[in-house]
């Protein structure tokens, strides 16, 4: 099986949204706006770096065979890493955003070396408070939702 070329975190494959510029202020945000999605690096190499940094060094994340021995289909991308991907997507879209709340449900596991899309859409804007609510999803190549949730940010 050919392994896809892994890109570094600085070379994400961003889908372009309708807007050319990053969001800088609340008036730049549109209700229903789709955040630029990206395909994160879920390679074993990157997951190993992540769990080492997080202090979550467990074979279920770093070793496909060990994960299978635990009854898992393969090594897992930690849920907190998926949450980190979602947070990064928000920051790509609105570099000045301050995430005040991010809440994710891990509906099904994300597997190391599989491809996923990180998605978001604006579902509420409070111009007085300067806050934006965003629906979040992580979907697989079959467009099935593996993670969903919401974030509340200040711009």
């Amino acid at each position: 099986m050919d392994h896809p070329i892994r890109v570094s975190s600085s070379e994400r494959n961003h889908k372009k949204s309708d807007k050319d510029m990053a969001v800088e202020k609340i008036s730049d945000v549109e209700f229903g706006e789709v955040l630029p999605a990206f395909t994160p690096d879920t390679s074993l190499e990157n997951v190993k770096k992540f769990v080492s940094a997080a202090g979550w060094d467990s074979p279920r994340f770093t070793d496909h065979e060990a994960a299978k021995e635990q009854g898992l289909p393969a090594a897992l991308v930690p849920g907190i890493m998926s949450q980190g991907f979602l947070s990064a997507m928000i920051h790509h879209w609105a570099p000045n955003a301050e995430i005040k709340m991010i809440d994710t449900v891990f509906r099904a596991p994300c597997l190391v070396d599989d491809q996923y899309n990180i998605n978001g859409v604006v579902t509420d804007i409070d111009t007085e408070k300067g806050s934006v609510e965003i629906d979040l999803t992580v979907t697989n190549s079959a467009n099935e939702t593996r993670v969903f949730g919401t974030a509340n940010i200040l711009i």
Partner: protein, 153 residues
């Protein structure tokens, strides 16, 4: 070990909900924060470069904090594979490298449900974090699920 059929959720809730069962103090390492952020795809230097004047932990870092004990003392152990079912983070202010953080954890909820992978029991712990001045930095809820059988995929 307790099987899921014998779980008395109401008794567990009465006995364990709300009590702080773990407290510890720690600080965050700049290089680890930078790597954490880079691996998640963050590109802003305030998250990826410890030399940035506004260098700070990525907001989801609080999800990675684990209490020293997963459960209160005398909490029954359960059969099955435990996995993260969800995480939520509320942030009052950014966390910084070197900052001394006190984390207190209590059990917030216990419930059962059924899903694609069979019957499951959920435990939700809440961790609150304060800095050395006692200022609240934020909180994070961790939902752990014990499935009676591993994921079907």
């Amino acid at each position: 070990m307790t099987g899921q059929d014998s779980i008395d959720v109401e008794s567990l809730r009465e006995e364990f909900l709300g009590q702080v069962f773990d407290e510890y103090v720690f600080s965050l390492d700049a290089d680890q924060l930078a790597q954490y952020a880079q691996s998640c795809g963050e590109t802003a230097s305030k998250f990826t470069d410890p030399n940035d004047p506004d260098f700070q932990a990525p907001p989801t870092i609080a999800s990675s904090f684990n209490p020293r004990k997963a459960y209160p003392d005398n909490f029954p152990s359960f059969q099955g594979l435990g996995m993260d079912a969800g995480k939520s983070v509320h942030l009052e202010k950014p966390m910084r490298a070197g900052e001394q953080i006190t984390a207190k954890t209590s059990m917030h909820d216990i419930y059962t449900k059924s899903g694609r992978s069979g019957r499951m029991v959920f435990f939700v712990n809440r961790m609150t974090m304060v800095d050395s001045q006692g200022v609240v930095l934020g909180s994070s809820d961790t939902s752990v699920v014990i499935r009676e059988k591993p994921q079907e995929e």
